[in-house]
Symmetry: C2
Subunit: 283 residues, 2 copies
């Protein structure tokens, strides 16, 4: 029997192994400075932080520890968003893993958790947009330097996540009871075949539904919308099974254009974790 | 900083990701009932046993725990031989990892360690040949049922390994101070490029040097010799760089013929661990 922390690590590995995952590192694709092996090392590095979450450490410090460990490889930020979903889910999995349980975890976060979240940014470069002027002292790029402002305003991690919506669909999961993560888990359980195929199918279904917010931040809303529309076209005509070459070509094109739908990958990883915890996947 | 137990898990992941590794599951190849995802799950499952070894638990019980955890997925025996090398290496890595240190670990093994090794066979199917008649009561396929005979004869795990040579090149590592594992580590450190390429190059170099003993047991000495000779031809003419298609074709042919040089993969994993522990790999 795997522990919740082990299932979280396995979810990270299964997510990156899923192929084709258009635009992202997968079993068959590397990016120029970010390779499959960096994700393997990042997953192993995240172990201790995930164990802390499973053992009852608060979300903020557990997350910071997971990110610090994940970042101990040269590929940079491999799994920041995925861990921001997995840490509260792992903590919720100490009891019966449900949307209600993870909503409780979110509600119970404190200002100290928010400080841990900000401190995590000291360990990695994360691509974020400029905040509105009144939020400048809370720019996450300030990392731990923003902690005093955070404490002055008395913001919990749940408050911080709420202020990141819209524009960040990882934060949106926090606000909406991890709705898409649980949907992804159901789809993974209902799909057939090897898990790397299932992960790819669920990734494409999620990409088709909403423009990826990491793509929108980096490349603009129009590009994010184009990617979602093309994913929808492929998904609706069952291209993964019927025209696999078309999906592979789309995947290669996005890699070539440097378009990486990372938020969609993060939610896929969260779905894999939930499905593993529920023993809904044959493995 | 990764712990020795974490480096061992990462070594298992980097080994299976290395491609092309003729005949074996790799980043680009699955076997029919044994897929990449089974190796990912097996690696996560082995975590606790590797931690026990790192924390000073004796080799036999730590190995049994690692195998029990590794076997908790449906692909069956993914990494038995690799763990039989990694557990003593992880234990040796508590001090400075050297051939002398791991030789001490081997010498200090007891009858209880041998019993743990036999109990590990209760958790998996491992392909072994019939033992000679006078060793029948010590057939590893008896698993824990063989423990009384083992105790009667007073055999340590080091004794058991010595009796498995020749014919098992994992056991040979135990007898010869993990010579090829350390050689593999040096080659990995001296090679260039992504680790999946380095792992593939070192795998081919090892396969070229000695007929794989798992292939010999399953398919006969002649097949094992043929595979080694063809690997040597490819390796000597630098085919991985100059004629990559020839190596890929060889890899596909061995998969199609069901020829899986598992012992060579085990030694590659051991080499990856040693190189990671020595911080000799950029990652």
């Amino acid at each position: 029997m795997r522990t919740p922390a082990q299932n979280a690590q396995l979810a990270l590995l299964l997510e990156v192994a899923g192929t084709p995952k258009p635009g992202n590192v997968d079993r068959h694709r590397d990016l120029e400075a970010l390779r499959f092996e960096h994700f393997l090392a990042g997953t192993i590095g995240a172990q201790r932080g995930l164990e802390l979450a499973a053992n009852g450490t608060a979300v903020g410090p557990a997350f910071e520890r997971a990110i610090e460990g994940m970042a101990g490889q040269q590929g940079g930020n491999t799994q920041f968003g995925a861990l921001l979903l997995l840490v509260p889910l792992v903590r919720a999995a100490r009891e019966d893993l449900s949307q209600a349980a993870v909503e409780s975890v979110v509600e119970e976060t404190t200002v100290a958790d928010a400080a841990g979240f900000y401190r995590a940014f000291d360990h990695v470069d994360v691509y974020v947009s400029d905040p509105p002027a009144e939020m400048d002292d809370l720019d996450v790029r300030r990392g731990s330097d923003a902690v005093p402002a955070l404490e002055d305003r008395g913001l919990t991690l749940s408050d911080v996540m709420a202020r990141s919506v819209p524009g960040d669909d990882v934060a949106r999961e926090w606000v909406r009871g991890f709705e898409r993560s649980f949907t992804a888990a159901n789809r993974l359980a209902e799909a057939d075949g090897p898990l790397s195929d299932r992960a790819a199918a669920v990734f494409l279904s999620l990409l088709a539904e909403r423009p990826d917010t990491l793509v929108a931040r980096r490349r603009g809303e129009d590009v994010a919308r184009e990617v979602a529309d093309r994913a929808a076209t492929l998904y609706e005509r069952g291209a993964l099974e019927r025209e696999p070459a078309a999906v592979e070509a789309f995947a290669d094109e996005l890699v070539d254009r440097g378009i990486n739908p990372g938020t969609t990958a993060d939610i896929t990883a969260a779905g894999l974790f939930i499905a593993l915890e529920r023993e809904a996947l044959e493995l």
